[in-house]
């Protein structure tokens, strides 16, 4: 088996992140680009405010992605939260450059309306020339929709990783399970598609005979999403096997039990999944999730070599932090094996208790995943 690209890896959390910001971004010549999205999520500015707090003089440029989500967007309903976030951001960036980029999430009208946000997000940065002046890029996914940041990060990875001295690429996220519970998604899209850049050659008719292994990372309240993804895979290409992934170890040791209870009927009664197919990944380590997912897919591919190997589909119904692991696997194996990412978008969000959510903001945990650049350079490159 080929070695995993992100092993060893660099993952920082909470205070480690703060001290890293202080050490790294105060170095002379640093010119970071910070990418974040405008949204109602109270965690939108947590990472950037920490960065500016740690190194106020950093020569930072900020790219704010403003999504046009159509007239039915939840952002209209929670406009006051969006306005508060923007007010806070502009204050933070009073002496820095803020560039706004508008991206449409939906294309077409009426019956022809469909999600195009993933493709449009990949088009935010067209070429390496547009980012070559930066020493570091931080993509903060805290307020970015799941269906968007995969293609955005995938595009940046494809632009930077082939260079001899790649730009340092970081993915940051402010995690807060309590806020996630209070920010409920409703409605699951019917018309599903693999995310742009992460098709994984699943829909190639010439390779339709290859078995498909589906790796859904389970999360709370997503049974309907799971079912829709399953139906989509079934309608095109029957999965050879389903390997549900559960977050364990987790901060709440009962979390896996609760998930098993929630999904029990679907997984075991309807789909007849065997308990031995279940995988566990640590709740707060996307790189470990990536390594386990990578190894599992490579092992399946090896075992199924007599059938010309296999393809895999990954879906994340869990936290954004864990989804980074899925992203890395799908990106790394997209050509070698073919791993597609099937995302099920929601129609919108409902916040149960706005004040309660605001009060929880300070309990968020900060994670920084380092994807390309200095730590991954070979020793001879580092010395140059």
């Amino acid at each position: 088996m080929s070695p995993n690209k992100w092993n060893p890896y660099v993952l920082m959390r909470n205070e480690e992140t703060a001290s890293f910001f202080k050490d790294h971004f105060t170095q002379e010549g640093r010119k970071p680009l910070f990418i974040l999205a405008k949204g109602f999520d109270v965690r939108m500015n947590i990472v950037i405010s920490k960065l500016i707090e740690c190194c106020p003089d950093v020569d930072l440029e900020c790219l704010l992605i403003e999504f046009d989500e159509g007239p039915n967007s939840s952002s209209h309903k929670y406009k006051s939260l969006v306005d508060e976030n923007i007010q806070e951001l502009t204050t933070l960036l009073s002496n820095k450059t803020l560039v706004r980029r508008s991206v449409a999430l939906l294309g077409g009208t009426g019956k022809n309306q469909k999600r195009v946000g993933d493709r449009n997000a990949a088009g935010i940065i067209h070429s390496y020339d547009e980012i070559s002046k930066y020493t570091d890029i931080v993509v903060d996914i805290s307020a970015l929709p799941r269906g968007i940041y995969f293609s955005l990060i995938g595009k940046i990875l494809s632009l930077v990783e082939t260079k001899e001295s790649p730009i340092n690429l970081f993915v940051s996220v402010a995690e807060n399970a309590a806020i996630d519970i209070k920010t409920k998604e409703f409605g699951a899209d019917d018309d599903l598609n693999y995310l742009h850049g992460f098709g994984g050659r699943i829909e190639l008719s010439s390779e339709i005979e290859e078995p498909v292994i589906w790796f859904p990372i389970l999360g709370e309240g997503k049974v309907e999403h799971f079912r829709k993804a399953y139906n989509h895979i079934m309608s095109q290409n029957r999965p050879y096997e389903i390997c549900p992934i559960l977050p364990f170890p987790a901060k709440n040791p009962r979390r896996v039990d609760a998930l098993i209870v929630e999904y029990h009927s679907l997984l075991f009664d309807e789909l007849g999944i065997e308990a031995k197919s279940i995988m566990y990944v640590p709740e707060q380590n996307p790189f470990e999730a990536y390594i386990r997912l990578n190894n599992a897919i490579k092992n399946y591919n090896l075992s199924l070599k007599p059938l010309k190997g296999c393809k895999a589909v990954a879906s994340t119904f869990s936290s954004k932090l864990l989804s980074i692991g899925t992203l890395l696997t799908a990106y790394e194996l997209r050509e070698e094996i073919g791993v597609g990412v099937l995302n099920v978008d929601s129609e919108g969000y409902i916040i149960d208790d706005i004040e309660g959510v605001k009060n929880l903001k300070n309990q968020s945990e900060l994670f920084l995943s380092w994807l390309t650049g200095q730590p991954y350079q070979k020793p001879d490159q580092k010395s140059e």
Binding site: K111, E203, S205
Partner: protein, 619 residues
């Protein structure tokens, strides 16, 4: 109990498939328009398009051929024989299915010219048709994939150089590899983060696969692979509007050389195509829901057959569906409700007739009526309706008493259904129950029937498991039917375009129909649940039908078209007015009648002008 697309085994699928729908193909064959032609198969979701195509796939035909004497398949075999698809000696037809998916549509998002997008679309279609044809040949000849590809020979005169870089004649394997490469490059162009110009996929100017893949050009062990090839393009509504138009234009211009069936949902049609007459189209069309309009009794037979056949596969020993659906009201259960209705209607009638004695004979008839409580309640409701009708008419007439003979004559009129509807409106007496109600609820859509019957079947199973009486009484039937209708209504906003306008429109139509239906004199018995569009007569200004071409009415066109496409409104032609005049009526789908407490019968409609209908949206 769900759609046949989900039935795994071919043998089971064929066993459960009802071949009556193939009659429509036999009609087309008799008219000489089925083969060497393009046929469009239209319907709303769940009417059986994909199942119809599945019958013609090689695996189905082989199963039929191998068991041609089996009673389970005999009828279907006979039907296909009439279509010259199969006979006792061999399978004549190679059915090639291409399921269109959303990834064709993604081509429209590439940063290339419109012409280039069409070329990529054509090359993706060509490659997938070739791949699917080769696979179908292997299935028809029972050869394994991919080993069998080497036994196929493709001998085509490549004069127009369609097959660039492919040396012809070639083996099936070489043709497969060539098509795979074309497909892969287009797919990479769709999915890659790199610009298209770095990938350089091949674009094709023509959909040449249809004309290049022929029984003459495809041989297996030096023998023609089949007698004729049928290309079946399923779900073309998933293509973009541009792609669908280009495909349609191409195949219609080239027709006569190949057999193509295009199956798509009505939502694929342009809004105006969904309105008005289905005549005068320049292509052959089969509309599955309309097909059943003239074959109600056959459809009912099929529906009960499907339900029973699927129930017979149950492992819980509930092997019939029909048997466990209580068809009549349990009169003991609702005895108190009947008495309540008798009392309240008696007092209504007493109030209505308090100022006149001309109904005295009628009242005497009722008081001497010797029926059970249900019969008496129905009789009183009917009489109440008749009295209100008379009072409305009689205001200016002389006060001659009405005779019992007159009453008996009038009671024969079609107000029994209305009386029962009125009785159920204000009581717990169920109205939507029994097999006939279930048949009506299907609105000619097999999947819709299964939606209702599968939940009822679940209830039967759960009754069985919990040791209760398996039979579902009429009250439980109505409870389940209403629950499903409510669920479908709640889901509507997620499923359809122009959702707000459509829901507003349907709400207004439902309210309007209710007001018309529940008038005390029941003027449109058994009730109103549809409308026809009638423009105000002003020949100087407008010609009939001109509103469709007036862009002011675009929102209305979009709403009605969406309703037709998603099977929320059914179009039926009715004779009306002057001799030979046909009027098109838009009826609520029957599950929406449940939602709005309306009768399930057809025939009750009102004329509405486009202006009035627009106001329903704009309120």
């Amino acid at each position: 109990m769900r759609a046949s697309e989900k039935i795994e085994s071919v043998a089971n699928f064929l066993r459960l498939y009802s071949p009556i729908v193939i009659d429509t193909l036999i009609e087309k064959n008799t008219q000489g328009v089925l083969w060497k032609n393009v046929v469009f198969i239209h319907s709303s979701p769940g009417a059986g398009k994909t199942s119809l195509l599945r019958v013609f796939e090689p695996v189905s035909l082989r199963t039929l051929f191998n068991s041609k004497s089996s009673p389970d398949y005999k009828e279907l075999f006979g039907q296909l024989k009439k279509l010259e698809v199969i006979n006792e000696d061999k399978i004549e037809l190679l059915g090639v299915t291409l399921h269109c998916t959303r990834n064709y549509e993604t081509l429209e998002e590439l940063d290339v010219s419109a012409g280039q997008k069409t070329r990529f679309f054509f090359s993706l279609l060509n490659s997938r048709i070739i791949l699917s044809t080769l696979r179908s040949i292997l299935q028809l000849h029972n050869k394994s994939f991919p080993e069998g590809l080497k036994e196929i020979k493709f001998d085509y005169v490549n004069e127009t150089n369609h097959f660039i870089n492919l040396k012809l004649p070639c083996t099936g394997q070489e043709l497969y590899d060539w098509a795979s490469e074309v497909e892969k490059k287009i797919y990479i162009a769709i999915d890659s983060f790199l610009p298209v110009e770095d990938i350089k996929p091949d674009g094709h100017d023509e959909l040449f696969a249809f004309s290049a893949l022929t029984p003459e050009s495809l041989k297996v062990n030096d023998q023609p692979a089949c007698s004729k090839i049928l290309f079946m393009l399923d779900d073309t509504h998933k293509l973009s509007s541009n792609q669908r138009t280009r495909l349609q234009k191409y195949v219609l211009e080239k027709r006569g050389n190949f057999n193509i069936w295009i199956s798509e949902r009505l939502e694929a049609l342009e809004p105006k195509e969904n309105l008005g007459s289905f005549q005068n189209r320049d292509y052959e069309e089969i509309n599955l829901e309309r097909f059943w309009d003239d074959r109600k009794s056959k459809l009912e037979k099929i529906l009960v057959n499907i339900a029973n056949k699927r129930a017979s596969l149950s492992t819980e020993d509930v092997t019939s569906f029909q048997e466990y659906i209580e068809s009549d009201l349990n009169e003991e259960t609702y005895k108190n409700e009947f008495f309540d209705i008798i009392n309240s209607t008696n007092s209504n009638i007493a109030q209505l007739t308090s100022h006149t004695d001309k109904f005295n004979e009628w009242l005497n008839y009722v008081s001497s009526f010797d029926g059970n409580p249900l019969e008496k309640a129905v009789l009183l409701k009917k009489m109440e309706i008749l009295i209100v009708r008379h009072l409305k008419k009689d205001q200016l007439s002389l006060d001659f008493p009405h005779t019992q003979e007159e009453l008996r004559e009038k009671l024969k009129s079609d107000i029994e259904a209305t009386a029962k509807l009125f009785m159920s409106k204000d009581s717990k007496i169920p109205y939507y129950h029994g097999l006939n109600a279930l048949f009506n609820l299907s609105s000619n859509n097999i999947d819709q029937f299964l939606t209702f019957s599968s939940d009822l079947f679940e209830e039967m199973l759960s009754n069985k498991i919990s040791g209760k009486e398996v039979t579902i009484d009429s009250g439980s039937q109505e409870r389940i039917i209403r629950r499903i209708a409510d669920k479908k209504w709640k889901e509507l906003s997620k499923l359809i375009p122009h959702a707000n306008d459509v829901i507003q429109f349907l709400n207004e139509l439902g309210d309007f129909s209710q007001k018309q239906t529940y008038q005390a004199n029941a003027p449109y018995a058994p009730g109103v649940n549809g409308f026809s569009i009638k423009e105000k007569k002003d020949p100087k200004l407008f010609k009939e039908g001109s509103w469709i071409n007036n862009e002011i009415f675009n929102p209305l066109i979009n709403v009605i078209s969406t309703c037709v496409a998603y099977n929320l409104l059914e179009i039926k032609k009715t004779k009306q007015g002057e001799k030979g005049q046909i009027c098109e009526v838009y009826y609520l789908n029957r599950w929406l009648c449940v939602k709005f407490d309306l009768p399930l019968s057809y025939g009750g409609f009102r004329h509405k002008s486009p202006d009035e209908l627009m106001r329903w949206i704009k309120k």
